[in-house]
């Protein structure tokens, strides 16, 4: 049952995730059909609008999920209500507002045109204020709390670093080369650096809860894995610097260190599977464990293995800037950042609502269909991407002729995306079944209500 008043804000963030994800999928379909040749919306939503909306919705819902997770985890880890609940609500409302204004603005050409960081400058400042409010709230909750745990500190460190790394993306440069150089400080060091801290912390928290393995052991390996992440990920940024006009040594530096990046993800996968197996106490929320273990495995396959597949310079010179990148991008973001959010939501909902709706066909099929769908989408992108690399880059066929040749794979992509969408639809339906927690009363601290005791 609701142990902390703060969890209501967490629920609002999770609900926001579901909504933005649904919109993201719609824009994905618009692009899939355009690639197939049916760009019927060209005059209203041209491809670059759909693309900016699709990727920015992803960023906003993942961040909303991380924030919701933090608002859920931090109060419990520190055994403390949030420092300021009204501030948390204002922060939630302003994040939603910025997201909505940005997405609508894209449709009227209000953007910056820098990949993944399209949000226009005035909104950037709002994002900064928003994130500062979030960090202040979380930070104060940790420091006024009754205990400090490695999981809480890692989560906080990841979120602070993510906020700091947003700043280099706000400097403008006349040179496309330097512009691109610092844009990757945000994008790469987020997704292959500090976001992994957040992901690692969320998984640790879930494993502690779900597997019953000793906290000391789980947190020790958390340090090792995030250590490996930074060891490989920081200089791994070099794989974005091969061809943008940066010096040639980035080929060696980026190639070597990004070849190590899969190790961090392999470590994460082995860690999750091992801990899940070792647990003496079996939590009955098996679907949350599915998502946690799935996250470990899919992030290794998508981010680690498929990233490695085209990260070496001798491969990347052919594949850079083709659909091969979209292949890696989809499974990487799904495994590494969407799945931990799903895991967290799947774990938190029954805890918050006291309703055990995690058994039965619906949550399980949500897991399987969305994962099978995403794997098939990745396969469709892979076939289209490899064909494109050979025909366009190696044989020298005209770009548009090659696009016609691979259009059929986008039909496959759309079929796979339908499967994926059904899975996500089931997850959202399950989310709705749990009901809202906003009006729910808070239990007195550390006392079980009679009906919760009965449910156990």
């Amino acid at each position: 049952m609701l142990k902390y008043q703060s969890w209501k804000v967490a629920w609002a963030f999770f609900a926001t995730c579901m909504l933005l994800l649904s919109l993201q999928i719609i824009y994905g379909f618009i692009m899939g059909f355009a690639h197939m040749g049916y760009d019927v919306l060209h005059d209203w939503i041209p491809f670059n609008v759909a693309r900016a909306t699709h990727t920015n919705l992803l960023v906003v819902w993942l961040l909303a999920g991380f924030m919701g997770s933090a608002y859920y985890i931090i109060p419990e880890e520190s055994d403390n209500e949030l420092w300021s609940l009204p501030l948390a609500w204002v922060q939630w409302a302003s994040l939603v507002l910025v997201g909505v204004v940005a997405v609508i603005g894209f449709h009227f050409g209000w953007w910056e045109g820098r990949k993944f960081l399209e949000i226009p400058r005035p909104l950037d400042y709002l994002v900064v204020i928003n994130v500062l409010a979030f960090l202040l709230n979380i930070g104060m909750t940790v420091f006024t709390g009754r205990r400090y745990t490695t999981t809480a500190i890692t989560l906080l460190a990841g979120l602070v670093a993510a906020a700091l790394l947003y700043l280099p993306g706000m400097i403008t440069f006349d040179s496309q080369v330097i512009d691109s150089y610092f844009r990757w400080w945000v994008v790469h060091l987020w997704v292959e650096g500090v976001w992994e801290l957040v992901m690692g912390a969320i998984l640790s928290y879930l494993l502690i809860k779900l597997s019953g393995v000793d906290r000391e052991i789980i947190e020790k390996w958390l340090y090792v894995i995030v250590g490996l992440t930074f060891l490989s990920g920081i200089l791994g940024t070099g794989h974005h610097y091969y061809w943008i006009g940066a010096p040639e040594y980035w080929l060696a530096v980026g190639g070597f260190f990004s070849a190590l990046e899969p190790l961090a993800f392999l470590g994460m996968a082995l860690y999750v599977v091992t801990m899940a197996r070792r647990g003496g106490r079996r939590h009955d929320n098996s679907v949350a464990l599915y998502w946690s273990v799935g996250c470990g495995i899919m992030s290794f396959v998508g981010a680690g293995f498929l990233g490695f597949a085209h990260t070496l310079p001798q491969v990347n010179i052919w594949t850079h800037g083709t659909l091969v990148t979209a292949m890696h991008g989809h499974l990487a973001f799904w495994g590494a950042y969407a799945m931990p959010n799903f895991a967290m939501i799947a774990y938190a909902l029954p805890e918050m609502t006291g309703r055990k709706l995690f058994s039965g066909w619906m949550p399980e099929w949500a897991f399987w269909l969305s994962n099978i769908g995403m794997i098939c989408m990745t396969g469709a992108f892979a076939v289209a991407g490899i064909t494109q690399v050979y025909l366009e880059r190696r044989v020298g066929m005209d770009f548009l002729d090659v696009q016609d040749a691979v259009a059929v794979h986008f039909f496959g992509l759309i079929l796979a995306a339908c499967l994926f969408t059904i899975g996500i639809g089931l997850f959202i339906w399950n989310f709705i079944q749990y009901g809202a927690v906003i009006k729910r009363d808070v239990e007195p601290m550390r006392e079980q209500s009679p009906d919760a005791a009965v449910a156990k």
Partner: protein, 230 residues
């Protein structure tokens, strides 16, 4: 066995150490980029071109230096491969160049804006990119040879080999958007060809052929060349 505090130290040392190396390489990169990207040529016009590039979110469809979206062509070497004349006509009315194919937004650029974008693309094309994008290495002769080196290359005027071949083929070399021009001289008289080149719409209303605004020198050169294709 590794203890928790050893694991913690591993994390801090790895992170601090590699962050330090990264910052040092960043300083060196910033030192080298001006020379590698010919920053002396980074004129106001190029910056204006970049502003247009960003404002229109060109990266939302195209890639440049391999970065962007994968819906429209890679443009790092657009200036080198297509040439200024072709780009000018294309940017005026992108859909006219590829009728019925994947659409680019019609931006109604002014001539000055088009020059700015082209200046930006030219500057991009001269950056030392460590060899990206590589020339196709498995290309059959028809694709590999630049159009100018095709069958009747010797006779092709520059305008023809940079602009016209974008859509038309001669001797199997060139684009397929418009009809192949082999034997065109036996189908048209020179005055008719000149009329067609000066104002396609007046000869064939609704044609996909764009108005090229040829200079009189180019008109002479292209029509003289076409008259050799019997």
């Amino acid at each position: 066995m590794l203890s928790k505090s050893q694991a913690k130290w591993f994390f801090f040392v790895a992170t601090a150490g590699f962050s330090g190396v990264f910052l040092w390489l960043t300083v060196d990169t910033i030192r080298q980029v001006p020379e590698r990207s010919n920053e002396d040529n980074l004129t106001d016009q190029v910056v204006r071109g970049k502003t247009i590039w960003d404002e229109k979110n060109c990266m939302g469809c195209h890639t440049i230096l391999g970065e962007g979206a994968y819906y429209a062509p890679e443009l790092t070497l657009a200036y080198t491969r297509r040439g200024e004349a072709w780009l000018k006509i294309f940017l005026k009315d992108p859909q006219a160049m590829y009728p019925g194919r994947r659409k680019m937004i019609q931006y109604d650029f002014t001539d000055e804006e088009i020059d700015d974008v082209i200046a930006f693309l030219k500057w991009i094309g001269e950056i030392d990119t460590n060899g990206f994008p590589r020339e196709p290495d498995l290309a059959p002769a028809a694709y590999a040879a630049p159009p100018a080196a095709g069958a009747s290359a010797a006779a092709q005027p520059a305008y023809f080999s940079t602009v016209c071949v974008g859509c038309h083929a001669v001797g199997g070399v060139g684009g397929v958007v418009g009809p192949a021009l082999d034997g065109v001289a036996s189908r048209y008289t020179e005055p008719k060809l000149r009329e067609w080149l000066s104002d396609p719409e007046s000869v064939k209303p609704g044609t996909a052929m764009p108005d090229l605004n040829l200079s009189s020198d180019d008109l002479d050169a292209v029509s003289a060349y076409l008259m050799t294709l019997k």
